[in-house]
């Protein structure tokens, strides 16, 4: 019996092949986008380089600042809710690094005394700083206004811009996922309707011969499952390729946990849709007497 029903499901699928291909594609891309949205942290971490994930700012202290003023700046940094940690860059080390990085300027720099290099604090920012960059930027602006602080170098505006774009991209992905999901469901519905219309006489005969509802419904469930499976393969292949080959995720297994939860939900939606579609279509053929009019 199962072989017979599977055979019918394959035949139904082939009879509405274009609908099958389009709905599988839509479902696959929708699953990919939905996974991208829910696993955005992993993707963001993989997409944004390390320097951006652990944003650092440089606070240069004026050369004529007194030790007391330096301590005051240190205290401000210590109590700030935006600062994760900070360390002092030693002048000698900074000088060596400068000479190393700009070796072509060696001749000009040889006469400079390292004492003139300002005292610099390397400040590691908290993640919250990126989420409320307005307040965070304000903090650094205030810091720059302190007379003992010469200047503050912060990549915050740039990082913030990346985050804004990424947030927009996430929202777009969610919207696109929902849109494609609806498209996939509508096309699946139409495909099943087409298959049912093509085999309504068979369904009628099966009904008259005493077939149970499951006997009539199962081929359409199989058809829906084929669509789902192809969609799942497409989305998984997409995620794997994106994660492993393009952005170099830490591990694909981190991504697929929620992917399977979303897939299961999509499958449940598809089953409910098929149940209602087939039930409605069965009622319509039971009522129709024109099935056998040639």
């Amino acid at each position: 019996m199962l072989r017979f029903l599977l055979h019918r499901a394959v035949r139904n699928t082939l009879s509405s092949f274009s609908a099958f291909v389009i709905s599988s594609l839509c479902l696959g891309i929708a699953l990919f986008c939905a996974t991208f949205y829910v696993e955005r942290e992993i993707f963001l971490n993989s997409l944004v380089p390390t320097w951006a994930r652990e944003t650092k700012a440089l606070v240069a202290i004026s050369n004529n600042a007194t030790p007391k003023q330096v301590e005051k700046v240190k205290a401000i940094l210590k109590v700030s809710k935006w600062v994760k940690s900070f360390s002092q860059i030693e002048q000698a080390k900074a000088w060596d690094r400068f000479l190393k990085d700009f070796s072509h300027l060696k001749d000009i720099a040889k006469d400079i005394d390292p004492i003139y290099i300002p005292l610099i604090f390397e400040v590691t920012l908290k993640k919250e700083c990126l989420n409320s960059s307005g307040e965070c930027s304000e903090f650094f602006a205030k810091l720059e206004d302190i007379p003992s602080v010469e200047s503050v170098f912060s990549p915050l505006p740039w990082i913030r811009r990346i985050y804004i774009w990424f947030e927009l991209f996430q929202k777009g992905a969610l919207f696109f996922a929902l849109f494609l999901f609806v498209c996939a469901m509508v096309i699946t519905l139409l495909g099943i309707k087409l298959s049912f219309q093509a085999s309504k006489r068979e369904a009628y005969i099966f009904d008259i011969l005493g077939a149970s509802s499951w006997f009539i419904k199962l081929p359409f469930y199989f058809q829906g499952t084929f669509i789902f499976c192809v969609g799942l393969i497409i989305s998984f292949a997409g995620l794997y390729g994106f994660c492993e080959k393009i952005i170099d995720c830490a591990s694909i297994t981190d991504v697929v946990n929620l992917f399977f939860v979303i897939s299961a939900l999509v499958f449940v939606c598809e089953v409910i849709l098929i149940e209602f579609t087939v039930r409605f279509l069965r009622i319509s053929i039971r009522k129709s007497d024109d099935l056998w009019v040639q």
């Binding site: 005969i205 008259i208 011969l209």
Partner: protein
């Protein structure tokens, strides 16, 4: 065995929207192992009665008892089980035209979940009975009317139904094929299948000995005794 009640229609009323009554206070009792002819002119309600009995059509009032069960209750939950104990031969055959004779006849067995061996065995036996052994792999649309009729009968009896319902089974056939089909029904009846044939042809009951004939007249069922034309004239 003869007196075991199969179907009991009690004061049946049926009306299609916008038409006159098809059945009005009609009562009929069908016993197991009966060979029953349901006679009536076109539009008298023969097909409607078969549709009601097979659960394709509802009725307005009255009561139908099937194997000691109220039909309305049966319809709600186990209609498919009742249909499995029926064999229906439609006037227009209602075969799967693109499938072979064998595939068509095997359908009720597939629905019942029989094994492949059992399906092969039973289909073979039925093909022999309906004399279509050499046509088992022929697609139904290429068969003649008589052959299609026999496929429809084969499909209706392959699962050994309790009751065979045949709606105008000889309506499209010539005298020779009609005789063959009636002989086939008679053979099936001898094997223990109850048979109900709905027809407008008053000659048919005469060909079957010991059959019961019921006529639909004035929207009711009336038991009649068929008399050969030569005796009446």
């Amino acid at each position: 065995m003869e007196d075991e009640l199969l179907i009991f229609c009690d004061h049946l009323f049926k009306k299609y929207p916008g038409t006159d009554w098809v059945f009005k206070d009609a009562s009929l009792t069908i016993f197991r192992n009966q060979f029953l002819f349901l006679l009536g002119s076109s539009g008298s309600g023969k097909t409607t009665f078969i549709k009601i009995i097979s659960g394709q059509e509802d009725y307005d009032r009255g009561k139908i008892i099937i194997q000691n069960n109220d039909f309305r209750k049966l319809k709600r939950k186990n209609l498919h089980l009742w249909r499995r104990s029926l064999g229906i031969v439609f006037q227009d055959f209602r075969l799967l035209w693109k499938q072979t004779v064998k595939e068509n006849i095997a359908l009720p067995l597939i629905i019942l979940g029989c094994s492949k061996n059992e399906i092969d065995m039973r289909v073979k036996a039925v093909l022999k009975l309906v004399q279509l052994e050499d046509k088992e792999d022929v697609v139904c649309k290429y068969l003649s009317g008589g052959e299609q009729q026999r496929v429809a009968i084969g499909r209706a009896i392959v699962h050994s139904p309790v009751l065979l319902l045949a709606d105008e089974p000889t309506g499209n056939l010539d005298d020779k094929h009609t005789k063959n089909i009636l002989e086939l029904f008679y053979t099936l009846h001898a094997r223990g299948i109850s048979i109900l044939i709905a027809t407008h042809d008053k000659r048919l009951p005469i060909a079957i000995p010991d059959c019961r004939t019921v006529m639909i007249k004035d929207k009711r069922f009336i038991d009649v005794i068929p008399v050969p034309k030569s005796r009446t004239s």
